[in-house]
Every structure is written in C-alpha cells, then in structure tokens.
Symmetry: C2
C-alpha cells in the first residue's frame, strides 16, 4: 500500500533520476513538468485534453484564487479539484511570489505581508498561517510554504535576513498544516550566492518535510548563473526527497536541471508563448507568424504526434494567429504542452535506460544550434 508523501527513486543516471511520488490524487512519475493553471484553468485547455497529452498534475495559484473567486467559495463547491474538473494531483504555490511581484503597496512584518490586490486595490493580508489555510481550503495535494521572495539583485545582508524570516515562516507554515494528505514542501532561498543557498538549504532541510523546492530563481538573473547555481545546489538536496525547481523553464533549462538532479518543474512559458505564436520543436523555437509559412502545407513538425501537427498545416496555424482566432491559442498550446510532456517522457526513458548523457548531449546540440533557440 502506497503511503501519501512517499518518494521512491526508481532509476539514476549521473545526477539525473526517475522517481515516483505518492499523492492523495495519484502517483507522479518524475522528472515531471507541471502546467500552470493560475486561475483554476490551464489557459485554453480542458482537463481531458491535458490528460490525453500526458499531464499528471496541474498547478493552482493561491494569490490569484484567494482574490478571485476566493478560497471559501471553492471550498464550499467541493475544493479546487471539483471546481475545475481535474481529478489528478494539484500543487498550489504559497502566493508569496505573486504578493512580491504583482501586488502594490506591500508592508512586510514578522507577522506577514499586507498588500493591495492588483485587481481592485483592496487591502489584503497574507501570513504563513493564512497561506496554508487558503491552500487547505483549496484542497491541493502539494502545498508550498509561504516564503519571502527577494527581488534580483539583493544585498548579502538583505538575503540573510530574508532567509531567517523564511525559516521562521516555514516553522509556522508546518504548524498550520492540518491535513496529513496534503504534502508541505519547503522553499530554499538565498539568491545566486552559493554559500547563502547552501546555508538556506541547511536551514530549510532542518525541518522534516516530504519535499523541498528551490525558489527565487528565474526572476531576471542571467540564465547561465541559474544553471550554475542549480548544478551546485541540487546535488546537495536530500536525495530521498523530491526536488522542485520553481518557475523554470525553457526546454533547455529542463534538460540541464534534470542533469543536476531536479525532479519537478513548473512554468507558464509553453502556454504563454503559445498564445503569442511561439512554438517549440526539437530544433528550437519557431514563430508561426513568419511570412514563409503563408503557403506551407506541412505540419509544424512532421514527426510530432500532437493533435495540432497531425491535423493542421503551418499555413493554417499562421492564418489563425494573424486573424487573432481563439483556435490559434488552443492549437498552439496543445503543441507546446505536448512537446514539453514528450521531452519529459524522453528524459525519463533515457535515464531508465542508462543513456542520459548521450540524450542530454544530443538534445542540447540540436536544440541550440540556431541562436533563436533557448
């Protein structure tokens, strides 16, 4: 019998690994990419479509759902799973990142953060206890601790102070957890300084939790610094727990960070750029609005098994995008998410079959051979 929160490493190849995490709504195979359903919907997608493409889990956003429609309403209606018609696992972030990036007039105290809603300017307050209470009301399977997210760059002194506050908030987050079926993950901060990151890692892992995340990355720093930091920190994270790199990233980021031992990723990138007409292929990014596609009868990627590539030409995708049709967002999102899930499936197989290094090398070489890619 599986125990909720159990994590098993099934295969290793270099630092990369395949694992399995048990949640209340099913088991997850890692490495995993988690599509972002900010406001109780992965933009433009139905739950059934996500499942068909291979999504195992979706993200919900505590900050957005708290402001609209409000967690009491979602709780009354049977929780976030039922509200959005998704019966698989759900991870909710803590709201910390959005409070610090989206809202105005923040006032930070030991107790928590006062801020104004980016929607209507109304005054709100989130503390560790409040963030957990919201996530408990939403009923998510994986709950993120409430942390302070410093902007990039930050001074060493500010980072140290922030890390200490984040640790005190983690203790309060853990104390507020009521439901053993919901798994609390702690978030390692510490900016881009390796010493501070390792210190934060030590602080956060001093609290026994079912998983740990790296936060505060992909916030504007040069991407090479992020890759370097993850390469140094991820292998130091507890190997018997899932390692989650928050808010990352591009296909290249995924492969490089899996190579460093990361297990879980989430990012709005594939869905957001899809709506802007950017599509991912094994040869890098493609902008569907390119004039040369106007009469092109071929699919975006003739080797791709996604619904979009199986049924539509580049010319049609270009037409829909130029005309601003909703179907453009749908077909592009289907392709990009399919690409991410397929990439992850390929990573899993390569790790299981002991050919990770070769796969990684081939992928990186092919994907970045034109400079548009990243």
């Amino acid at each position: 019998m599986d125990t909720i929160g159990e994590f098993r490493v099934l295969a290793n190849d270099r630092q990369a690994r395949v694992g399995e995490l048990v949640t209340a709504h099913g088991n997850l195979t890692t490495p995993i990419f988690m599509p972002v359903g900010t406001r109780a919907t992965v933009k433009a997608m139905l739950p059934e479509e996500l499942k068909t493409m291979g999504a195992q889990i979706v993200l919900g956003n505590t900050y957005h759902l708290h402001l609209r429609p409000g967690e009491e309403i979602i709780h009354e209606l049977g929780g976030l799973h039922r509200f959005m018609n998704w019966d698989g696992p759900i991870l909710t972030d803590s709201g910390g990142f959005q409070v610090f990036s989206l809202s105005q007039l923040r006032k930070l105290t030991e107790e928590g953060v006062e801020f104004r809603s980016h929607i209507d300017g109304s005054k709100c307050f989130i503390s560790p206890e409040k963030s957990i209470a919201i996530q408990v009301a939403l009923g998510s399977d994986i709950v993120m601790a409430f942390d302070e997210c410093l902007p990039y760059p930050a001074t060493r002194e500010a980072t140290l102070e922030s890390m200490d506050l984040t640790l005190r908030w983690l203790h309060r987050s853990k104390a507020a957890m009521m439901n053993p079926d919901q798994l609390l993950f702690g978030i390692v901060q510490g900016g881009l300084d390796i010493d501070l990151r390792l210190k934060s890692l030590e602080q956060i892992t001093s609290v026994d939790l079912p998983g740990y995340a790296l936060g505060g990355l992909s916030v504007g720093e040069p991407i090479e610094l992020m890759h370097q930091l993850v390469a140094q920190v991820a292998p130091q994270m507890p190997p018997e727990k899932p390692r989650y790199l928050m808010g990352v990233g591009t296909p290249l980021d995924l492969v490089l960070c899996i190579d460093s031992g990361i297990d879980m990723f989430d990012c709005v990138l594939p869905t957001r750029v899809a709506r802007n007409g950017t599509l991912f292929t094994w040869d890098g990014r493609v902008s569907i609005k390119r004039k040369e596609y106007q009469r092109d009868p071929s699919p975006l990627d003739s080797t791709c098994q996604c619904y979009t590539c199986q049924n539509y030409s580049k010319a049609y995708l270009r037409h829909l995008f130029m005309a601003g049709e909703i179907l453009s967002s749908r077909l592009n999102t289907i392709h990009n998410l399919h690409f991410y899930f397929e990439l992850i499936r390929c990573c899993q197989s390569a790790i299981r079959e002991g050919r990770w290094d070769q796969f990684r090398h081939n992928f990186v070489t092919r994907f970045v051979k034109n400079r548009v890619s990243s």
Copy 2:
C-alpha cells in the same frame, strides 16, 4: 444513388417540414442550423467538437477569406475543407453582405463593387464572377449568388432598382459556375415590403437553382416585421427546394420561421453571445456573470447533456467569465451550440411525429415567459 443537389421532403406538419439535401460532402437533414466559421474556424471550436455536438455543416465567409489569407492560398492547400480540417459540407456566402456592411468607400457599378478592405484599407473589387471564382477556389458545397444588400430602411424605388441588379447578377453568377458538385443558391431581396419580396421571389426563382434564400433580413428591422414577412413569403417559395433564411437568428426566430416553412438557418448569435457570457436555456437567456451564481454549485441547466453542463458549475463558469479566461469562451460556446442543435433535433422530431404545433406552442410559451428572453 444520391444525386448532388437533390432535395427530398421527408415529413410535413403544417408549413414546417423535415427534408434531406444531398451535397458533395454528405447529406444534410433539415431544418438545420449552420454555425458560422467566418475565418475558417467556428470561433473557439475544433471540428471534432462541432461534429460531436451534432453540426452537419459549417459556413465560411467569402469576404473575410478573400482578404485573409486569400482564396488562392486555401486552394493551393487543398481547399477550405482540408485547410480547416472539416470533412463535412461547407456553405460559403457571397461576400455581398460584408462588402455592404463592413468595408469602406464602396463604389457600386453594374459590373460589381469596388471597396476598401476593413483590415488594411487596400482597394478590392468583387463582381458576381469574382465572388463565384472565390467560392469555387474555396471548394464549398453550397455557393451563394452575389447580391446587393440594401441598408434598412430603403425606399421602394431604391429597392426595385437593387432587385433588378441582383437578378442580373444572379444570371452572371450562374453563368460563372463551373463545378456541378457545387450548388448555387439564389437570394431573394426586396426589403420588408411583401409585394416587393414576392416580386423578387418571382425574379429569382425564374432562374432554376438547387435552393433559394431570403437575404437582407435581420439587418436592424423590428423583429416582428421580419417574422411577419417570413410567414408570408416562405410558404410561396418553391416547396421542392430548400429554403434558407440568411443570418437568422434567435431560438425563437428559428422556431417561428420553421413554422413558416424555412429549412436552413445560420447565425453568429449563439457563438458571439457565448463569448460575452450569455447562455441559452429552454427558459430563455441567462447572463453567467450574475452575482447570484457566485456560489452556485449547480450546472447551468441540469437537464442539458452538453459537456459544459455535465462537468461544470455555474460558479465555475462565472469565475472563468469574470477572469476573462479562454476556457470561458470554449465552455459557453459548447453549451450554446449544443442548445441550438438540440433545439433543431427537437423540431425535427416534432415535425416527423406530427406534434409540431404543440411543440412550437410549448416552446414559445416557456422560452419567452421572462422578458429577458427573445
């Protein structure tokens, strides 16, 4: 063996009738509602979704497709069916209505209409021959003759002149038809004057064609005048040919005009208002943004078999609409189109089973009992 263009009346009840029209891409059962795919997509929908809901045919728009991406491109790519991945019948309008309603700086001559594109202001010209050539290039199954659409109201003299021009253009449209698999329908004009309508009907039906349409209605006139006119004109249209009421209408319009003997309808209404949060039920229209739905766990219509009503609460639909999510347009469009197709299926059954009058009476009484409805 079915002959393309053949129309069989299968059942009559009062003026209402059930029929079957043979097209190159399959047979249509009438009465029929045809969803509008203006720019080679029924907004927010996949072809497979339309089929699942019961769509038999979709509309394409000659004016829009001529301007973007251009009919030569679509032809090169295998025609409109292949371009948009729809293998059922397609009807294209002639572009006349859009030339007269959307474009600027029109110059009307005997030869045709010069106008400027509403997209980029470029100069364009459409004649009957050009309209047919575009529709032939698109490869539609039902082709509409190019007619002049007068604004409402128009003088008797202007209407008479316009009718004569429309007749001359019909002869030219027919002469331009090359492919016997494409069915040309003529369009009866004549404004709201019954005498002029009957005269136009006589003119247009003097040309032997596989179907006839009533055009120039639902252009701003009081809806009661439209109902009255259709009640007088439709029964005079050739009973052995399909009768198509262009650009109409609401569920009430459909039932009343089926009662007058109309067989075919098209309208952007169910898809357009869906995106604006208005949903159809057997009890009239509902605005999903109503505050009272904020915590409502029930489906929009608990008797409805559509995907939306089977899986989502009013509270969720309201949330998606308020948040401006693409999924709002999708779920609302699914519901409204399902409602239209279900209404049409009920009409067909009632006519076949000889209970049309009762059905019509019950529907109208229930649907209009609250004044929001129409």
